[in-house]
């Protein structure tokens, strides 16, 4: 077990380095030169210089800033290693993500690491509530549909999950916004709190809840269809297993057969969905957060891409990649827990 995890972690590290390197090189293609702009800005403060002096001074400043930002070379690998924090800068100091330097967000004018927490908290709360709601609805629904396969209820659910599954999520959000905001006026359209309000205590909490209610409902609704279908399909497969026939032949009650024998088997394909879902909450829902102005990771990423806030994008991308890989590992470990036949130590 330990050896397996170590092996997986090593592999994760490899993939992580590979992916971040690719992304890093992609970023280097962006036409942004911080050293150049900073040198220009500083040069403008020195008005008393003549043109010639300015030119030499600029070269001097440019080199200084390049060395400061570690861009005094064109070697992409060196740049990458500097960013990672294993290769020293010109003055010999080492500062990269390994040292805890995640970059500086020019859009927020503070270190990237200081911007993230509040967004992460919002997204995480939204995600966990949604995920719990989704699983709480879809699993019983999927099981019921599978058990009563072919019934009216099943057909009905199948039809609506088919539509839900085929509808791009943003259309569902549009419908909800139009219905709940424009027609019924139940919820505000966007934002996290009433603009200009200075509520305190319980009032403030209620206000925030009022604002995040619709995004939560939308996000929940958007993922119902797909998971219900998967749950139903895996449950149907499980109910067709020989062991279920045996269990029924033994005379076990239907309840025991379904919830103990069949569900245990149906859970195996569901593991990746459940685990992936929980980890996915951290990355946030880009479309949803953008549409509702929900200050989470998705909106942060979206606005960073829009404003070309490179350090921020890079760091978010690191988080995404890491989460994706980590979720894979956890999924595999969970398979071992759920399915005793899978031997992880292999």
């Amino acid at each position: 077990m330990g050896r397996y995890i170590a092996k997986r972690l090593l592999y994760m590290l490899f993939v992580f380095l590979l992916l971040t390197f690719v992304l890093f090189v992609l970023y280097q293609m962006m036409p942004a030169n911080r050293a150049y702009t900073d040198a220009r800005t500083e040069l403008q403060t020195m008005k008393q210089l003549s043109e010639e002096e300015k030119a030499t001074k600029f070269d001097e400043l440019y080199l200084k800033y390049q060395r400061m930002y570690g861009t005094d070379t064109d070697n992409k690998l060196v740049l990458y290693l500097r960013w990672l924090g294993v290769y020293p800068y010109y003055d010999g100091h080492v500062s990269g993500i390994l040292e805890g330097n995640f970059g500086f967000s020019y859009e927020y004018n503070k270190p990237v690491i200081d911007v993230i927490p509040s967004h992460l908290r919002n997204t995480f709360l939204l995600g966990v509530i949604t995920e719990v709601a989704v699983l709480g609805i879809t699993i019983p629904l999927g099981i019921r549909c599978a058990v009563k396969k072919g019934s009216r209820f099943d057909r009905f659910t199948q039809f609506f999950t088919l539509i839900g599954f085929s509808t791009p999520s943003f259309i569902i959000y549009i419908i909800f916004i139009v219905f709940f905001c424009s027609i019924l006026h139940w919820f505000p359209v966007s934002g996290m709190k009433t603009p200009g309000s200075s509520y305190t205590g319980f009032r403030a909490v209620l206000d925030v809840l009022h604002h995040v209610a619709l995004p939560t409902i939308c996000l929940t609704f958007g993922s119902l269809a797909g998971i219900t279908r998967i749950c139903r399909a895996s449950m149907i497969d499980a109910l067709n297993l020989d062991c279920i026939r045996t269990a029924r032949a033994k005379g076990l009650t239907e309840k025991v057969v379904i919830y103990s024998h069949a569900w245990r088997n149906a859970l195996i394909p569901m593991v990746s969905i459940i685990v992936g879902g929980f980890f996915g909450t951290i990355s946030g829902a880009i479309i949803l957060e953008q549409m509702f102005g929900f200050k989470g990771m998705g909106l942060l990423f979206f606005s960073s891409v829009m404003t070309a806030d490179y350090d921020m994008i890079m760091f978010l991308e690191v988080i995404y990649t890491f989460i994706g890989l980590f979720a894979n590992l956890v999924t595999d470990l969970c398979y071992g827990i759920v399915d005793p036949r899978v031997r992880i130590s292999k």
Partner: protein, 660 residues
């Protein structure tokens, strides 16, 4: 005996509906049991002959597919969708990606832009229109309005004609972009519609705004002599009344018409009209077009498509201009010898001026937004100019005495006021978008792009995924491990963040719109292949271990024959199913990205970026047609494609039974 109802199309559809939603039990309860023809068992050589019951697997799959009514319906819908999207554009109005039309913004779906009310049909005195509605006046002085009454999101309905106008006897009417003016027989001035830019009423807000020219007092107080009015006309947010002594009353939004000031107080005008941005007039000398702006409209030509033409004075060569009519961008002049001349710019698709018969000449010209309609002394009508909505394709009309044109419509009327014929734009099936483009044609063009992107992305996925899956499955060992690790790397790339970054990177590189489209297809394909690789590999592994392959090997069948004859057919069915499902998924991904603004960008339409305006709640409710139709079609298409995929999976699975 029970009376048996005949099965017709509706009954069959209702039966399917009931069966789908309520199940077989209710279908049989409400529609009666379907009689199954009893099969006669034929004996051949003393044993039952069931040879007909045994069919090939393909045949069996087909038969079982046909049994699923909803799946068959879905195939039908998808085929229709493909046909509409890829074939219909050849028969529709011409379409341009970047088509914009200021006067036709945000119009709801309608087909009644040209529906002259029945009461007016035999009694027409005049018809005028500029934007989305038309106003008509009957010989007995009654006003009628048709077309789209709602003015944007202002809540004003132009069709609600004021009571005093209904009671009065009206002599002249004219329609602007969002207002109508009318003058009674007694000289009283009326106006309704939007007054935001002082179109018809003088309020404090109008007087305070330096950009607005208020309605002249003479007009407001009803001091003008109706019998001496030569022409009443309206522009975008401005109006003009011309008297036959050359006095011009003009008012409205000076920001829409920058040269409006130079017309105020003029007393030597013989004709006036509005383009989209300029007021154009004809002064007493009748030798040039007066616009108060030097060098504007000083070239003239006989035909629409013959370049810029020559200097006006040179062109006229002693002739006089008798009438001036303006579209949005061009002007048509009727000359004293009955010939016509043009100045200004035209769109790319135009109908050229017709060659008239011997002795025939134009007596009147009227103008719409892009087209002209002319009446000749023989009573024939001709249309020419911009033909985007076929508004310049005139029918053959005999005995016309009057013609009216406005916006994208033309009407021919005889001496008694009877409507002889009308032609032009009937309306917009799905309304128009915020740029004034017809949504229906954008849905078709967008469907082409969305479906093509989806299809090409899936093909790329299949090519990469299946080849890698086959390699991994066949060779096994280290090759397998390596390829599967690569697939894992690709599948752990988060799709949306990565697409957003790549898109913003692509935005820095200057790409043509087509290249950008290819890039999106390639990116979608490259990020989506691992699924196919896993499936293919698993199928190959299963097939290699199966008894029939072992048997084939034992019989000494060649490896390549095993691969193609025994293993490939098994894979193909699974790939086919996944191809269908992936197609729908790719379409969804593309529309989501385009919706966010990181996929297909304006002016290229896609079912995704056409919906991006709907993320604004106010726009989504006010201009519901801008997203409802597009998203319905998108959802319908993906639902049908997914149904086909699901059904294929069911019918191809030998283990599944018919009881579903």
């Amino acid at each position: 005996m029970e009376k048996k109802k005949r099965e017709n199309v509706f009954r069959v559809l209702a039966r399917w509906f009931v069966r789908f939603f309520f199940g077989l039990k209710y279908e049989e309860k409400w529609f009666g049991k379907k009689e199954q023809p009893k099969k006669e068992i034929v004996f051949k050589n003393g044993v039952p002959d069931d040879s007909e019951l045994i069919v090939s697997p393909t045949r069996q799959i087909f038969n079982r597919f046909i049994e699923r009514k909803f799946a068959v319906f879905s195939v039908f819908v998808v085929l229709v969708m493909f046909a509409v999207v890829f074939i219909a554009p050849n028969f529709m109005t011409k379409y341009y990606d970047a088509y914009t039309e200021t006067t036709q913004k945000d119009l709801p779906p309608t087909m009644a832009l040209m529906s002259v009310p029945g009461a007016l049909k035999n009694n027409i005195k005049m018809i005028d229109s500029f934007g989305s509605f038309s106003v008509g006046l009957s010989n007995d002085g009654k006003v009628y309005v048709w077309g789209i009454g709602q003015i944007g999101a202002t809540g004003i309905n132009i069709k609600e004609i004021p009571e005093e106008v209904k009671n009065a006897k009206i002599a002249y009417v004219a329609a602007g972009q969002d207002h109508i003016i009318a003058i009674g027989e007694d000289g009283t001035f009326y106006g309704w519609g939007s007054n935001r830019f002082g179109q018809y009423a003088v309020t404090d807000a109008v007087l305070e705004n330096p950009n607005l020219e208020p309605v002249p007092d003479a007009v407001l107080n009803g001091e003008i002599d109706v019998s001496h009015i030569k022409r009443v006309t309206c522009g975008y947010q401005a109006s003009a009344i011309l008297m036959d002594d050359g006095t011009l009353y003009i008012w409205g939004n000076k920001q829409a018409y920058a040269n409006l000031t130079s017309f105020i107080g003029k007393t030597n005008i013989t004709d006036v009209d509005f383009t989209l941005n300029y007021v154009v007039g004809l002064d007493k000398k009748q030798t040039s077009i007066y616009s108060g702006t030097r060098g504007l409209y000083n070239m003239a030509r006989e035909k629409i498509t013959t370049g810029k033409g020559v200097k006006m004075s040179e062109f006229l060569n002693g002739r006089k201009i008798t009438e001036v009519r303006a579209t949005s961008t061009s002007i048509c002049m009727l000359l004293s010898d009955g010939s016509i001349a043009f100045t200004g710019d035209f769109q790319s698709d135009v109908v050229e001026v017709p060659t008239l018969e011997e002795g025939e000449y134009f007596v009147d010209i009227e103008s719409g937004t892009y087209h002209y309609t002319g009446l000749t002394n023989f009573g024939h009508v001709y249309s020419f100019g911009g033909d985007h909505y076929h508004q310049a394709t005139a029918p053959t009309v005999e005995g016309a005495k009057k013609v009216f044109a406005g916006a994208f419509q033309s009407y021919a009327v005889d001496g008694s006021g009877k409507l002889l014929d009308k032609w032009g734009l009937r309306g917009y099936l799905f309304g128009t978008d915020d740029r004034g483009a017809d949504i229906a044609s954008r849905v078709v063009a967008g469907g082409q792009i969305t479906m093509t992107v989806g299809a090409v992305a899936v093909i790329i996925e299949i090519v990469i995924g299946v080849s890698i899956g086959l390699l991994a499955g066949f060779f096994g060992g280290p090759v397998d491990i390596f390829l599967m690790r690569v697939a894992e790397v690709f599948s752990s790339i988060p799709l949306y963040p990565f697409m957003l970054i790549l898109s913003s990177l692509l935005a820095q590189v200057s790409l043509t719109t087509d290249q950008r489209l290819y890039m999106i297809m390639v990116i979608l394909g490259i990020l989506g292949w691992p699924g196919f690789a896993y499936i293919t590999r698993a199928q190959v592994l299963v097939a290699r271990e199966s008894e029939y392959v072992t048997a084939a090997q034992a019989m000494g069948v060649k490896e390549s024959r095993i691969a193609f004859k025994h293993i490939l057919p098994n894979i193909i069915s699974v790939i086919l199913v996944n191809m269908t499902l992936s197609f729908a998924a790719s379409m969804q991904t593309e529309t989501s990205l385009s919706f966010l603004g990181f996929g297909v960008n304006y002016p290229q339409p896609s079912w995704g970026n056409m919906l991006s305006r709907a993320s604004n709640a106010t726009a989504a409710i006010n201009f519901w047609w801008q997203w409802v139709f597009t998203s319905t079609i998108l959802v319908l298409t993906t639902v049908c494609i997914n149904t086909i995929g699901d059904t294929l999976r069911d019918v191809m699975d030998p283990k599944s039974t018919n009881d579903k």
